[in-house]
Symmetry: C2
Subunit: 208 residues, 2 copies
DNA sequence: ACAAATTTAGACAGGCTTGTCCAATTCGTC
DNA sequence: GACGAATTGGACAAGCCTGTCTAAATTTGT
């Protein structure tokens, strides 16, 4: 395991103040001196950890957004699949959990460091997702008033049942992720499905 | 300010490891010795803080749930009002923010301490709220499949636009709270409104 | 195989924190 | 005002952690 990865784990587990360089070195399998040679001091190491996590998480999120169903065959199933991918690959994985915890725990102490994350992360994520929903609406699959609001509400809904687990730093099971996504997408579609034809396969009909 | 209150503030700001008893004593306006006289040691003090916050937060939450609109005049307005009260009095206030942060930061280190919170807090909150929604559904104001799911989704929706602010430990403005609640309730009602009569005042008609 | 660069173990100083002890002072109550 | 209880400030030992230094060992490139 690399030094930054080990440091991420220890900073998350123990908090910035509680993290101890000897432990990080041991966990990384190197000597303490090597940690200092590579990263200068504790604060620089912390910054490196946050930058590393931010970069990887953003990459994962945008890769996942690229898989958003633009031409859905089965809107519910496709959105559930998307939500599950988003959760599994970005929110619940190691990087996602670590970054979230560091932001929550140390965000107030390093405002400029996390301001960068805030702009590049949630800001762009929401924009990109909103654009995808706008496209679905434009294509007649959904009836959406404000795509930005819809995007945020989509994320909130598919995570609705995982909040507590996230709060305590736990990892939800695959089944919990699927159930929360399914319930969330159903409610989302109840709210934003096109109102004209009540039946399920309206989208396919529009394009037929 | 009491010792526990000062300790809550410092534990939140600095994390458990980073919190220093001298600072707590200074912030509380007492001598360090008094802190030790009253609370034994740092860990006992921390436990006292968490218990105190948990208790007050739960009291606030249940008081707010008691104000849930059982016989709504205007369902949207009443639910928005409820959501705003919940946010302002329980989630965004001092106790709520502190407790959330402590759970996120130290939840893994004190599992038994926060297990208590988990059972008494979210568990009972969700049950109580689900019961209120079930009642609304039974009275014909809503069409709800699973009241527990609906309750969690309601909370997720009305907080959808405040997540980032919460993550960074900030306090949303009154206007942000209202907007998030309004958008959330609208979507909630789009999803769970009774389907039979499409007009707005269906609830009133049913009772007329 | 050799030389340069890197890594290692350990010692070390300096600083900070916890928790205790104690004498002096203040406070509450009668 | 007097007396017991609580509070205070400060000194103190013990421990831990950071960050530096050094000499030895190991790896790397050629």
């Amino acid at each position: 395991m690399s030094v930054v990865d080990a440091a991420a784990a220890v900073f998350c587990r123990e908090g910035y103040a509680g993290a101890n360089i000897d432990l990080i070195a041991a966990e990384a399998g190197v000597s303490r001196q090597t940690v200092y040679n590579h990263h200068g001091d504790k604060e620089k190491l912390f910054v490196a950890v946050v930058r590393d996590l931010t970069e990887r998480c953003n990459a994962g999120i945008f890769a996942t957004i690229a898989s958003f169903p633009d031409q859905p065959m089965d809107l519910e199933a496709d959105l559930v699949g998307f939500a599950v991918r988003m959760n599994r690959n970005c929110i619940c994985n190691r990087d996602g959990r670590f970054l979230r915890k560091l932001i929550q725990a140390e965000g107030e102490r390093y405002p400029e460091l996390f301001a960068e994350w805030r702009e590049q992360g949630p800001g762009r994520t929401w924009s990109a997702l909103a654009a995808r929903f706008a496209r679905l609406a434009f294509a007649g699959h959904l009836a959406i008033g404000d795509p930005d609001v819809a995007a945020r509400q989509f994320l909130a809904l598919v995570n609705a049942e995982l909040q507590i687990t996230f709060m305590l730093g736990g990892v939800p099971t695959e089944e919990e992720v699927l159930r929360s996504a399914t319930n969330g997408v159903r409610t989302f579609l109840s709210a934003f499905a096109r109102k004209k034809s009540p039946a399920g396969k309206q989208a396919a009909l529009v394009h037929a």
